[in-house]
């Protein structure tokens, strides 16, 4: 089991993301979100797609992709994240509901999936609190009874899998 996890971390990498921001005013009408995202250490490039109202973010190669920093950048710019979809290249990544996996050094908890094995480019939606609208979060978080869905921390959810209680766990859907 451990061996599989290590293989996954070594060969899987997140490469890009698409993010939607929301706020009281027109988020696309302000340069603030783009500028803030460009300043995040692992971000290579940010493009604004007016049609889809999305920010297309390309990550630096083999960078430590810490998605909480994207959220923080948007919030510091005075807006909030309405949607974050992250794309990466994966090799023999097996996902199933309520299973925790390590990808590129981060812990992920899949809220769906039926033992499928992912290879090549795949996109996940992050469904943690404040990564989507409050309404959508309520809906998504109801799909698992495990407490880490509420806190974003491992807690007692996955101590059996060797993940420490205070470790960050990203909750995602395929």
């Amino acid at each position: 089991m451990t061996a599989i996890i290590i293989t996954v971390s070594a060969t899987s990498q997140f490469t890009k993301a698409s993010l939607q921001a929301s706020g009281l005013t027109c988020s696309m009408c302000s340069k603030a979100v783009k500028v803030a995202l460009e300043k995040v250490s692992f971000v290579q490039e940010v493009k604004v797609d007016i049609k889809s109202q999305e920010y297309s973010i390309v990550f630096k190669e083999n960078a430590d992709t810490d998605f909480d920093l994207l959220k923080k950048a948007v919030e510091d710019a005075g807006f909030s994240v309405a949607s974050l979809k992250v794309t990466g290249n994966f090799s023999e990544l097996s996902v199933s509901k309520d299973k925790h996996v390590q990808i590129a050094g981060k812990n992920f908890h899949f809220l769906n999936g039926n033992n499928q094995v992912l290879n090549g480019e795949n996109t996940f939606t992050i469904v943690d609190k404040n990564f989507l609208s409050a309404k959508d979060y309520k809906k998504q978080s109801a799909s698992s009874k495990m407490e880490c869905v509420q806190t974003g921390k491992a807690g007692s959810c996955c101590s059996q899998e060797g993940i420490s209680a205070d470790a960050r766990v990203y909750h995602v859907k395929v």
Binding site: C26, M28, C29, K31, A32, V48, I50
Partner: protein, 166 residues
């Protein structure tokens, strides 16, 4: 005590220096750092500095910017009221799709000078004028000096009247 005095003098010099600097730094449309040329709907060039002598509103906007579109409605009224008295508006759209821009110009019935810099937030015109959010507008007097930024419609009208000498 003496040190305190020196500090005070140094402080005053800094303040005076900044005030003098601020006076020198009133942006003027003839400044090559601020000047630009964009193409209008017919494909003709419009050069900002050539508009010196008018009371001018430089207006950055885009078709996808909701607040800009409602501002256009106000500007249509203002423009028809004062265009014959020496008031001009120079709209610069940051639209990346030229057809979206043309559609919006037609729909909002824009008849003032209108050009496009089709590179969104990477547009050189927006960078030169340090535009951080849309809409962004700059009111310029007959000497080409920028006298106000982002005025609300009533403030804008009274300032335009003042600059036209009403």
């Amino acid at each position: 005590m003496k040190t305190k005095k020196y500090f005070l003098i140094a402080f005053l010099l800094t303040v005076i220096g900044n005030v003098v600097k601020a006076q020198q730094e009133i942006p003027n449309i003839a400044d090559p750092r601020l000047d630009f040329t964009v193409v209008d709907i017919k494909g003709d060039s419009i050069k900002l500095s050539s508009l010196k002598g008018k009371v001018l509103l430089i207006d950055f906007w885009a078709s996808w910017c909701g607040p800009c579109r409602s501002s256009n409605k106000q500007l249509v009224k203002l423009y028809s009221k004062y265009k014959d008295s020496g008031f001009e508006i120079f709209g610069i759209s940051l639209d990346e799709e030229i057809k979206d821009w043309k559609k919006a110009v037609a729909k909002d019935k824009i008849s003032w000078l209108q050009g496009i810099d089709d590179r969104g937030w990477d547009a050189m015109t927006a960078m030169k004028w340090n535009v951080q959010a849309l809409p962004a507008s700059f009111l310029v007097n007959k000497n080409g000096d920028v006298v106000a930024i982002d005025l609300e419609k009533n403030e804008l009208e009274s300032k335009v009247k003042e600059l036209l000498g009403f």
